[in-house]
């Protein structure tokens, strides 16, 4: 019996060996391999999901990839594409935290092996402790949202889970899901259309409220939690789209009006300020890390869509007193849009209070639709700003958000095809040095991104997995019972 076992083992080994063809005498070429996604020279956190990649040329017989860590450890993958074992990958990246991984790619085509120049993947010494990402997936269409869904993705593996999808609330458009500084014990999202409303979930309990009043004219959206966890800053606006006849940018998104308010989720009171309820358009509020200020953008009212090119947003700041639930008396203009002929939108302060990241484009207040939207970074210690050339592309970059420790950020970019936004992550160190971003890893990246007919937007980190009872959401949405709000005197 033992003999039979040895024979079986031997046959198994032989079969295994015959399936694996080690590159023999490869022709070495002095150029980097063209891989998809472009992971050459990127910086990653330890224990991120494996950076699987394809060779750009699809007509290859196979590829062989060897990764060696500067602090030890190796990893080998062979097949149609580089597909790494998750546990082995985690072991290697953890072992090489603060070091680098040297990647050797050999490609077999027409029966011959070619070895490309090695490239590095840097493993940051800064950890990324969040569980994953949350984001909305939506068809990059026009005025019909279609099959929308809010999802979460474990960034250490390839697993994706639905948080709320169109199937449970058919015909509803929902967006702007926001957690409190990556903590999903506070969530808000806005649902539009019939039976619309604003969800406030605190510690697992859902509350659906109607934030529209006679004075505020629309339901709150583009939300942001106060760090204390009771206030939510929102914009109340009316969003519209127009469509270009040319072959470049497809859509111009604009707002007919927009104001900023704060909702006290304990009392359902709306806190208003005459400084934020003006004829100008105030939009995209965000609390500072200490909760003492609200950053937002403001533009002069224009006759949109005719004057869409005149929409130039300034980046502003107003004090907020969480004790009293009151706004300050003055507005600071940090960056003047009309004066610089730019538009500054979507300010997102890092949670350590060190940085302010925002979008800059030539016009408009909805950067994801602006092809020239780029990310910029302001040092809140010095007030100096710089363009994040390390992460920008000729296409739109927007919807950025910080990791819990503010050492990583995620953003959405249309760099690949100008239409389907995808998620990229990059690191930032104490000096503000930003690494080359990497596309959110997928098990089979080329197939996944080719077949993915959705665009990603509103990405955010989440420190733990989000728990939202979609059945309860359905009941509350279709019951159509909404708690009202009142204006705080």
């Amino acid at each position: 019996m033992k003999v039979v076992g040895y024979w079986l083992l031997a046959i198994g080994c032989w079969l295994l060996a015959s399936c694996t063809s080690v590159p023999e005498h490869p022709t070495k070429v002095d150029r980097l391999p063209e891989i998809y996604p472009d992971y050459i020279g990127v910086t990653i956190p330890a224990d991120i999901a494996p950076l699987n990649f394809n060779f750009a040329d699809e007509m290859i017989d196979g590829m062989d990839v060897v990764i060696k860590g500067s602090k030890g450890g190796t990893l080998h993958a062979q097949g149609d594409y580089a597909d790494f074992d998750i546990d082995d990958w985690h072991q290697l990246t953890e072992q090489n935290q603060g070091g680098e991984l040297k990647v050797t790619v050999c490609v077999k085509k027409d029966g011959r092996w070619t070895q490309y120049q090695d490239f590095s993947i840097f493993v940051s010494s800064e950890s990324l402790d969040d569980w994953g990402l949350t984001y909305r997936r939506i068809k990059p269409g026009y005025e019909v949202g279609g099959d929308i869904g809010i999802y979460q993705r474990d960034i250490h593996t390839f697993d994706e889970y639905a948080i709320l999808t169109e199937t449970v609330v058919p015909g509803r458009c929902f967006n702007c899901h926001t957690a409190n500084r990556t903590n999903p014990n506070r969530i808000t999202l806005q649902m539009r259309g019939e039976g619309g409303g604003t969800l406030i979930q605190k510690d697992g309990r859902q509350k659906w409220i109607e934030t529209k009043t006679d004075i505020t004219k629309a339901a709150g959206s583009y939300s942001y939690w106060h760090p204390q966890g009771d206030y939510v800053a929102m914009a109340v606006n009316s969003v519209h789209q127009s469509f270009f006849t040319g072959t470049g940018q497809r859509i111009e998104v604009y707002h007919k009006f927009s104001d900023v308010e704060v909702l006290d989720t304990r009392s359902n009171e709306l806190i208003l300020s005459p400084l934020l309820f003006t004829d100008d358009l105030e939009i995209f509020p965000a609390f500072s890390a200490d909760g003492r200020y609200i950053y937002y953008s403001s533009s002069k009212s224009c006759r949109v869509p005719a004057e869409y090119e005149k929409v130039k947003c300034s980046l502003c700041r107003i004090a907020f007193d969480a004790e009293k639930g009151a706004f300050g008396e003055t507005v600071d203009t940090l960056l003047n849009g009309p004066a610089t002929d730019q538009s500054y939108v979507l300010a997102r302060p890092s949670y350590d209070g060190r940085w302010l990241m925002y979008c800059v484009s030539s016009r408009g207040n909805f950067p994801v639709s602006q092809n020239d939207a780029d990310l910029w970074l302001m040092d809140l210690k010095t007030g100096e700003s710089r363009e994040l050339k390390e992460v920008n592309s000729p296409q739109s970059e927007s919807y950025h958000n910080w990791s819990e420790n503010s050492r990583w950020f995620v953003f959405a970019s249309k760099r690949e095809d100008g239409m389907y936004t995808k998620l990229y992550l990059a690191s930032i160190d104490e000096q503000g040095r930003v690494s080359k971003p990497f596309l959110l890893p997928q098990r089979h990246p080329r197939q996944y991104y080719l077949e993915m007919m959705d665009a990603y937007n509103c990405p955010d980190f989440t420190r733990i997995k989000v728990e939202l009872d979609a059945h309860e959401a359905y009941r509350q949405v279709f019951d159509n019972k909404r708690e009202g709000v009142r204006i705080k005197n």
Partner: protein, 506 residues
């Protein structure tokens, strides 16, 4: 002898059912099949199969879509549909006459059971008149009946404990039909299966369907195109099916037939006007005969954006032929996203890919083509288009894409539906060979009642329109202008009067 005659009669009836159903769809309602086919895109991939069968009722959903894809070739799709109905009739007959217990209704296959076996056929046929009923429902009914035909004796009734969860997962809540038949076959003591099925459904809802409402878990996720709605016993509404037929004829560019039908029967809806005007324009008859037909108003040429899966299709087809490529893409995209069960549309995806190719957006076009390449009937075209994208000169030389590149706007500005007449005018100014744009420009001014503008551009019609003499329709309008509308029998005067009456009614 009687047995032999009975057997021939028995099978003869089934053959008649098959022929009848085939003729019903193939001759009378081929457009209904085209309508169903255009709101799905069946992919021949393992992932697609897994995606479907990962939900209760997903297997019949997959099977239904599998059959519907063959509607692309009308005779083949109709044949499969006829066979499905024959199966329905045969299974019903079998259940009525071959029961394995004393509760069987009929001992022999006489005339009565044979007639009764036609009842489900008639009911399902009538039910399918509701355009949102998916083929998964008839398929589920057939499978439920087939399951009930399995010869399981009373002694083996416990097997239903295992069968029901599996059957529920494969065919969905229509499995209740099986439960009812089994209770009839085996008696009231078998009623426990009903309780068990409810329990199964509730467990599936609680544990496996976190993103679906209870109502759908109990009544079916994929029998009806509109979530949380149910089939109507509406049958084949004449006007609705006329509109569907016109869309089908537009899809197949059968312009003469549209004009011919329009002369016989009209539906007072913008959709109808859109189709007829598009057909007239393709025959270069718009200027001559437009007001001989019903015109719905300012939306008679192009519909404003409407959130449903049908209304914008003829407008999208008009945009495409005019050279308003971006608008064609937008209307097709929004149409596809309005399919409330979240399915893709082969027709829309193909047109979206074409728009992207014309606009030179090859990377996004490649995504659409990748999808189409996984289908059966769009695959060949997608491969050709993919090859074409590698050579810009081939696209420029293409009879349609190359022409559209010449016709589309050269300037970049914002589309404005309220000023669609000016947009047509600009399109014509952009390329004075674009005679369809000129016809639409003039027609839109007439629809809006802008007679001053119409007169102003009559010179352009004479110079660029390519007409040997002034079109009859324009002659009529000029006559109306001269006579201040007092022209008895004038089609345009009638239109103006109708518009005035409608405004007064509002």
């Amino acid at each position: 002898m009687n047995k032999v005659i009975g057997r021939y009669l028995n099978w003869g009836l089934s053959v008649l059912v098959g022929i009848g159903i085939f003729l019903f769809w193939y001759v009378a309602y081929p457009h209904a099949l085209s309508y169903q086919e255009q709101y799905q895109l069946f992919l021949w991939t393992w992932d697609y199969f897994v995606e479907r069968v990962s939900l209760p009722g997903g297997f019949v959903d997959w099977l239904g879509e599998f059959i519907v894809q063959f509607y692309y070739i009308e005779w083949l799709g109709t044949l499969l549909l006829a066979l499905l109905f024959v199966a329905l009739q045969r299974l019903t007959l079998r259940l009525l006459t071959h029961g394995n217990n004393p509760h069987v209704l009929f001992r022999t296959q006489g005339t009565v059971p044979m007639c009764l076996s036609l009842v489900p056929v008639a009911l399902v046929l009538w039910l399918m008149g509701d355009i949102n009923v998916l083929l998964s429902l008839p398929v589920a009914i057939v499978l439920a009946l087939a399951l009930a035909c399995l010869r399981l004796s009373k002694r083996l009734s416990w097997v239903d404990f295992i069968i029901l969860p599996i059957a529920y997962w494969l065919i969905g809540p229509v499995v209740w039909l099986y439960v009812i038949i089994r209770v009839i076959q085996l008696g009231w003591e078998h009623l426990w299966t009903a309780g068990w099925l409810v329990a199964v459904q509730l467990m599936v809802y609680a544990w496996l369907l976190p993103q679906w409402p209870l109502q759908q878990a109990m009544t079916g996720l994929n029998y009806y195109r509109i979530p949380l709605h149910y089939p109507q016993w509406s049958g084949y509404d004449k006007d609705m099916y006329e509109l569907i037929r016109l869309d089908y004829l537009v899809r197949n560019e059968r312009w003469d037939e549209i004009v011919k039908r329009a002369g016989k029967y009209q539906v007072k809806a913008p959709f109808w006007s859109n189709c007829v005007n598009l057909a007239l324009s393709q025959k270069r008859l718009l200027a001559d005969r437009m007001f001989d037909f019903y015109q719905s108003g300012a939306d008679a040429l192009i519909m404003p954006r409407t959130r449903d899966l049908t209304s914008m299709l003829p407008s999208a087809e008009a945009f495409w032929r005019l050279g308003m490529v971006n608008s064609a893409q937008r209307y097709m995209f929004d149409t596809q996203e309005s399919i409330l069960n979240g399915r893709k549309s082969g027709r829309c995806t193909k047109r979206i890919a074409e728009c992207m190719i014309v606009n030179g957006h090859y990377q996004t076009a490649a995504k659409q083509l990748d999808l189409l390449k996984k289908s059966l009937f769009y695959r060949f075209w997608a491969k050709e288009a993919e090859a074409m994208m590698k050579d810009e000169a081939t696209i420029n030389a293409h009879p349609i894409y190359g022409k559209l590149r010449q016709l589309r706007y050269k300037d970049n500005f914002l589309y404005n539906y309220d000023e669609i007449d000016k947009m047509f005018g600009l399109l014509f100014m952009n390329n004075q060979e674009n005679k369809m744009a000129l016809d639409y420009f003039m027609a839109q001014m007439l629809l809006k009642g802008n007679l001053q503008g119409f007169q102003q551009y009559m010179g352009a019609v004479q110079q660029y329109g390519g007409y040997r003499q002034m079109p009859l329709g324009y002659q009529d309008v000029m006559h109306c202008i001269q006579m201040q509308g007092k022209v008895p029998g004038s089609p345009y005067a009638k239109y103006v009067q109708q518009m005035a009456e409608r405004r007064a009614e509002r």
